[in-house]
C-alpha cells in the first residue's frame, strides 16, 4: 500500500507535480515553508524526549563521574572514572564469580566513602542469569502456546484473552499474587507439593530458589506476550507451506521444526528484544516482593542495586554508574535491532 504522507511529501518536493507552476527559486522557499510548518508537530515532543530522556542520560553519565553522595549538590569540577574502577574492581575473580568460580571478590574504597563498596559482579551475574533464563523459557512457552492456539481451536479468543491477561497487571500486583502462591503455609504451590508429601518449602527467602521464583513469576506474566507475537507471525505464513510439508509426509513436530520455526526468526528477535529489556527493568517486581530495596544477594539484580545505592544509601554517583552500565546493556541489545530494522527499511 502507498504511504499517503510520503506521497504528499513527494508532491511537495517534486516540481512536476506542482499545480501552481511557480519558479524554481520560489519553490525552494515554498518547500522550506512546509518543513517549517510541520516542525510544530514533531519539535515539541522531540524536545520533551530530548530533554527528559536523552538529556537525562547524558547528565546521568556526568553524575557517574562525580563523587556525589549524601545530601547536597553534586560537584562537577572534579570528574574521574573512579566509580567504574570500583564497580568492576577485582575483575578476574569477579568475572569468575558470576559462574560460581574464582576466589573471594573484594570491593574498592572510593573517595566519597570510608567503607568498602561492593563491585557489581554479583548483581551483574544475577541480571544475566535472569535475562537469559527468563527470556528463553518465555519464548519457548510462547511459541508452544501459539502453535496450540493456531490449530483451529474453538473459543480461540477466550484462550488468547486468558493467556495475555497477566500482562495487563502491574509488577507490584503480580508480586503480591506470587508472594501468596509461594507462601510456605498457605501458598498454593506448597499445598500442591504437600499432596506429594514434600515440603513445606521456603521459596521466597531461600537463596537457592529466589531467582528462580522471580523468573517463574515473570514467565507467568510475560509468556502471553510471546504467544501473541508468535501467533501473529504464524498467521503470516502462507498455508501452502504447511500443506507442502504435510504432503512430504513430515510429522507435525518435524513440520514445525523444519518448515515453520525457521520462518519465525523476525518474530523471535523482536519478542526477544522486548522481553530481555523487561527483565532489565524487573525492579518493580523485586521491590514489591521483598517489601523494599533489599532482595538479598542471591536475587539482587542491577536494576535493584542501582536504586538501592542511590535512594537508600544516597551513593548517588555510584547509583549513576550502575545506571550507565544498565544503559549500555540495553543499548547493546537495542542498537543492533534498530540498525537491522533500518537496513530492512522498516524504520
Amino acid at each position: 500500500m502507498r504511504n499517503p504522507i510520503a506521497t504528499l511529501r513527494n508532491r511537495w518536493s517534486d516540481s512536476d507535480a506542482r499545480t501552481d507552476g511557480g519558479e524554481p527559486a520560489s519553490e525552494r522557499s515554498f518547500l522550506d515553508r512546509d518543513s517549517v510548518r510541520s516542525a510544530p508537530f514533531w519539535v515539541p515532543p522531540f524536545l520533551l524526549v530530548g530533554l527528559f530522556v536523552y538529556g537525562a542520560v547524558v547528565w546521568n553519565f556526568f553524575l557517574s563521574l562525580t563523587d556525589f553522595s549524601g545530601i547536597g549538590e553534586p560537584d562537577y569540577s572534579d570528574l574521574d572514572v573512579e566509580n567504574y574502577f570500583v564497580a568492576f574492581s577485582d575483575p578476574v575473580d569477579g568475572f569468575l564469580s558470576m559462574f560460581g568460580m574464582g576466589g573471594e571478590v573484594s570491593g574498592g574504597t572510593p573517595a566519597w566513602s570510608d567503607l568498602t563498596v561492593d563491585p557489581v559482579w554479583n548483581s551483574l551475574g544475577n541480571t544475566l542469569a535472569l535475562m537469559i533464563g527468563f527470556s528463553a523459557v518465555c519464548l519457548a512457552l510462547g511459541l508452544l502456546l501459539a502453535i496450540l492456539v493456531d490449530r483451529g481451536i474453538r473459543f480461540e479468543n477466550t484462550f488468547r484473552t486468558i493467556y495475555l491477561l497477566p500482562m495487563s497487571l502491574s509488577f507490584v500486583v503480580t508480586a503480591k499474587f506470587w508472594l501468596y502462591m509461594y507462601n510456605p503455609q498457605t501458598g498454593l504451590i506448597n499445598i500442591a507439593l504437600g499432596v506429594f508429601g514434600i515440603g513445606p518449602v521456603q521459596i521466597v527467602q531461600n537463596p537457592d530458589l529466589k531467582l528462580g521464583a522471580v523468573a517463574f513469576a515473570l514467565i507467568w506474566q510475560f509468556s502471553g506476550y510471546a504467544m501473541i507475537v508468535y501467533l501473529a507471525a504464524l498467521r503470516g505464513i502462507p498455508s501452502s507451506h504447511f500443506e507442502a510439508a504435510r504432503v512430504d509426509g513430515a510429522s507435525t513436530i518435524k513440520m514445525y521444526w523444519r518448515v515453520i520455526v525457521p520462518q519465525l526468526r523476525t518474530a523471535t528477535v523482536s519478542a526477544l528484544v522486548v522481553i530481555t529489556v523487561f527483565a532489565l527493568k524487573a525492579f518493580d517486581f523485586l521491590f514489591s516482593m521483598y517489601g523494599g530495596y533489599q532482595p538479598g544477594p542471591s536475587a539482587d539484580i542491577l536494576a535493584t542495586r542501582m536504586v538501592r545505592e542511590a535512594y537508600a544509601n544516597q551513593n548517588w554517583a555510584y547509583g549513576s554508574t550502575i545506571a550507565v552500565i544498565l544503559f549500555v546493556m540495553a543499548l547493546c541489545i537495542v542498537a543492533p535491532y534498530i540498525y537491522s530494522q533500518y537496513r530492512r527499511g522498516e524504520l
Partner: protein, 299 residues
Amino acid sequence: MSTADTDARLKRLALYAVLIAMAGFYLLPILTGLFTSITSPESYTGQSPFLPPMEPLLPETGSFSLQPWGNAFDGLARGLTNSFILVIPATILSGLFGSMAAYGLTNVDWRGQVGIYALFVAGIFIPYQAVLVPLTQFWYNVVPLQSLFAPLAGLPLVQAYHWKLVALIVTHTAYGIPICTLLFRAHYKKLSDEMIEAARLDGASVSTIYRRIVLPLSIPMFAVVFIYQFTQIWNDLLFALTIVQFGDASVVTQELVGIGVSQAGTNFPLRMAAALLAALPTLVVYVLFGDKFAEGVTA
C-alpha cells in the same frame, strides 16, 4: 469407528486438555487471590485458598465477607485518587504528542529524519534507571516547581503536594512519547491517501490536513495508544517511588507495596483485596478492550 478417527479425537482431546491446563496456570494466582480476598480475616485459615469461602457448607474454607475489600478501599483511597490524577492527563498528553510526532516525522523530507525517528524508537527501550538521579535532581533542585505551584494550591480541589504529580505527569508524558510515536507511525503508513491528496489540491495546509483528516482517521489508533499508556502509567512504580516518594502524593502502586503487613503477621485477605483493587482499572480496561490491548503490545 476407525482407529484413525479415534486417534484424531484423542489428539483433539489432548490439545484441549493442554489449553485448559494452561488457562488454569494463568488464572489460578488471580483466582486464589480473589477467593482469599472475599474471606473474612477472622475465619481465614489458608488451608484451601483455591476454594471460595463457604464456611457453613464446607469447613475450613472461611466465611464470606466483603470487609477486606472495604478495608483495602480505605487503605488505597488516597493512592487511587492520586493515580487517577496522574494517569488521565499523562495518557492523553503522551498520546497527542505521539500522534503529532508521527505525523510531523513522516511529513518532513530532510536527511536527519530517520535519525530522529531512530532516537524516538530507542527511547522505548531505555531503562528508567538510566535517568532517575538526574530526574530527581531536576524536579527537586533545578526547577522550583514546588514554589511555582504554590499559588495554585489555593484553587478548589488543588493541594500543595500536587506539584509532585505534575512532575510525574511531565515525566511519564516524555517517556510515553516514543512508544506512542511508533504506534501512530505504523498506522499513518496505512492510511488511505485519496482524501489527503484531495485536501492538498484544495490548498489545505499541513496543520489543516492534520486536524481535518489525519486526526479523525487516528481515532481507532488513539484507542489502542490510550489503553496501552493507561496500563503502563497506572502500573508503574519506579518513577513514582523516586519522583513522588512516599507521602501525600503516593500513587496506588506505592501504597500497595506495604499494605496488609503488620506486627501481627500478614493479613492475606486484605492484601489480596488490595492487589485486586489496585489492578481493577487495568483489568476492566483489558476485559473490555482486550484486542486493542493486544494490538498495542505487539506493535
